[in-house]
Amino acid sequence: MFLPSVLALEVKQSAWIVPIFVPLGIGSLALWGACKLKQQFPGLTIIEYSEVVVGKVLGKVLTASFILFLLSFNIQLIWDTTGFLSITLLPKTPALILNLSMVLLGAYIVPKGIEVIARMAQFVLPLFLMAVVFVIVLAMRDFEFGNILPMLEGGVLPIVKNSLAPAYIFGEVGLLTLFLPMVNESQVIGRKMLMMLVAAAGSLSAVILTTILVFGPEVTGSYVYSFFALAKFVQAGRYIQRVESLISILWITGITIKMALLFYLCSVATAQCLGLKSYKSVAYLLTMVQGALLIFLGSVSVIQMQIIDNYLQSIGLGFELALPFFLLLTAIIKKKWSTR
């Protein structure tokens, strides 16, 4: 929701090109790494094989920091979502109520298991895509094709330099290292995930392109949530107007699924790290931890929150991409060393 604005602010009219280069490449690399690790350690998650690769102590340290990253990533996601709700649809509702509602919803979904989360996604994704396509179609009559000219005004460098935020999102594919062992038909997952990555990059690019074609790069960069502003702008005659609520509701539903998935992965990872058989008790414990942290964040200033956001973005790629590759490389070297 905020990515078109962030990119248009820096890359101007060429912002729509950003997702289809470096972020897609990073996502594909993370996917390749996850698939290779799965081949090396079939049936094991990153939590289990990290101890095998780098030893018990270092393995525990790595997995503990990975769990902390997942936890903070999920808290940041909840915080950003309620921030969006507070600015747009529910300005009078206390942020704490929205935050705690999200956490409680997560606590309800997570113990039901990964299949429930997958079925939710199956149900919501077509609705969300239809709503996005609906907005794009309505926006077509206001397209000003001159808005994307001149292409690549600042060259390729701004596109590469501003790829961190979308690369962080696409790098989330690296989290596959946690739930690949739970997936059926894991032979075709690589191909399917690659198709999903291309589709995600394409749709993100289409959303940014539509926003720039209607608003121009300067206005797109000025709005915090420019696609939300676009949903407020589009209309068909006097009959269909102000469709932003539809977009917001579906977007929040999608975010809820992502939040539930991260919460689930965090619970499973913690349970595996501690050697527990069931992750459900961990999920309940994490609900309380997340609730407490969100209450604490309520007293954090905007500037401090910005620092946390930037910090997470920079360490995010480390856990999504660098950690799996480090483990893969170490495993390969160890294997070659032992065969000698």
Partner: protein
């Protein structure tokens, strides 16, 4: 789990749900809303201090149909005008709405009118605030007026509609159809103000006073009409376009389709109406070696012939077309001259150079206004008459 405990849990959940589904903090009942339709924004000086003045036209639900006599006739005012002042925009709005018992709703605003002083100095501040506020749609119209916007909001509506509806109708289509102005939305004006290579315009609302020489209506205290534009250089209002310059601007900068601009044209003292139904233009820019900008503007119009008289036949179409083209060319040149006079490129000439010749733009980026001032502009107009609109009997009489 015991079935009794399950039922108990479901009952507790349902009971709690009842608390939440009745509404939450952000809920607003329709009957409690103070619906804002039209905004006026001014800068005024009170006791030597510059202040924002906000005037709001709000819907008056009981004014829609109020029984004042035995016959249940429509009377009362449809909209109430509120006014407030403050050191900041929010302060002025809060001063304005604090006396209304309703909860303010700004999502229904159709247009925002700026007084001359605020348009000259602080329009960017208000635009930024409007873009930040979640209820405001980027599709609302922005308008400018000479003097105070509050004066405009005191005018009486015509033809039984509310003032806000009249303003929105004028911006929507009526003015464009008459070639007097065109509605400019928040999206467009914010894009122009933030643009590194183009200036913008806002349509001008004028007041018509009965009894005065230029009055266009009788029987009302004062009414409003949309005609001409206010010209912005960056985010400052620098001047105005009259009706002819406004038409010139429309022919160069806008693609008009299905419009009905009535243009009186003449040839050797013979007057006729050229009724324009479609118009489009193309701007071509070229930067020569001595950093001289050459601009070629081509305007193509299609239209029909109106009230030319019975003595006109197909053989006259050619001179009528060239005469209409010459009239349009003169209007376009007026708009270009005014643009140079105000040093404001609202026609999009430099934007065209930026978009189509990046190397040239890099060269002139720092001093593009100077380049625009010295640009050589050539205008070519091709006008076509596609329909004579004459009655057969009158044509037969000629032969």
């Amino acid at each position: 789990m015991n079935i009794k405990i399950k039922v108990l849990i479901i009952l507790v959940v349902l009971l709690f749900q009842m608390i939440f589904i009745t509404g939450c903090w952000s809920s607003r009942e329709v009957e409690d809303l103070a619906i804002s339709n039209l905004f006026g924004v001014d800068q005024v000086t009170e006791n030597g201090i510059d202040k924002w003045q906000i005037s709001i036209k709000m819907s008056n639900p009981i004014g829609q149909k109020q029984s004042v006599s035995q016959s249940d006739k429509i009377s009362g005012v449809q909209e109430i005008l509120w006014r407030g002042t403050g050191l900041t925009i929010e302060d002025a709005i809060s001063d304005c709405v604090e006396h209304s018992s309703g909860i303010p709703l700004y999502g229904h605003i159709r247009a925002i009118i700026f007084g001359e002083k605020v348009a000259k100095e602080k329009i960017a501040v208000f635009i930024e605030a409007a873009m930040q506020y979640w209820e405001i749609s980027p599709r609302i119209y922005f308008i400018v007026t000479k003097g105070e916007a509050y004066n405009i909001l005191q005018a009486e509506p015509t033809l039984g509609v509310s003032l806000s509806k009249q303003v929105s109708q004028m911006c929507d289509r009526i003015s464009e159809k008459h070639g007097a102005a065109v509605g400019v939305t928040l999206r467009e004006i914010s894009a122009r103000i933030l643009s590194p290579d183009r200036d913008g315009v806002l349509p001008q609302l004028k007041v018509s006073y009965p009894g005065k020489k230029d009055s266009k209506v009788t029987g009302l205290n004062k009414t409003i009409f949309l005609e001409g534009f206010g010209v912005f250089r960056g985010d400052n209002l620098v001047g105005w376009l009259d009706l002819e310059e406004a038409r010139g601007y429309l022919f160069i900068a806008k693609k008009l389709a299905g419009e009905n601009i009535y243009l009186p044209a003449n040839h050797n003292g013979k007057w006729f109406t050229y009724l324009i139904v479609a118009s489009k233009s193309k701007i071509k820019t070229q930067l020569t070696r001595g950093d001289k900008l050459k601009v070629r503007i081509t305007i193509q119009t299609q239209g029909s012939m109106g009230d030319a008289g019975k003595d006109v036949g197909p053989e006259d179409i050619e001179w009528m077309e060239s005469s209409a083209a010459e009239t349009i060319r003169k209007l376009a040149i007026k708009a270009i001259d005014k643009s140079k006079e105000y040093d404001a490129d609202y026609l999009g000439i430099i934007q065209n150079l930026h978009r189509h010749d990046l190397d040239a733009w890099q060269k002139v980026k720092s001093h593009w206004r100077e380049i625009f001032q010295n640009a050589e502009v050539e205008v070519e107009v091709k006008s076509k008459i596609v329909n004579t609109g004459q009655l057969l009997q009158f044509r037969l009489q000629k032969h």
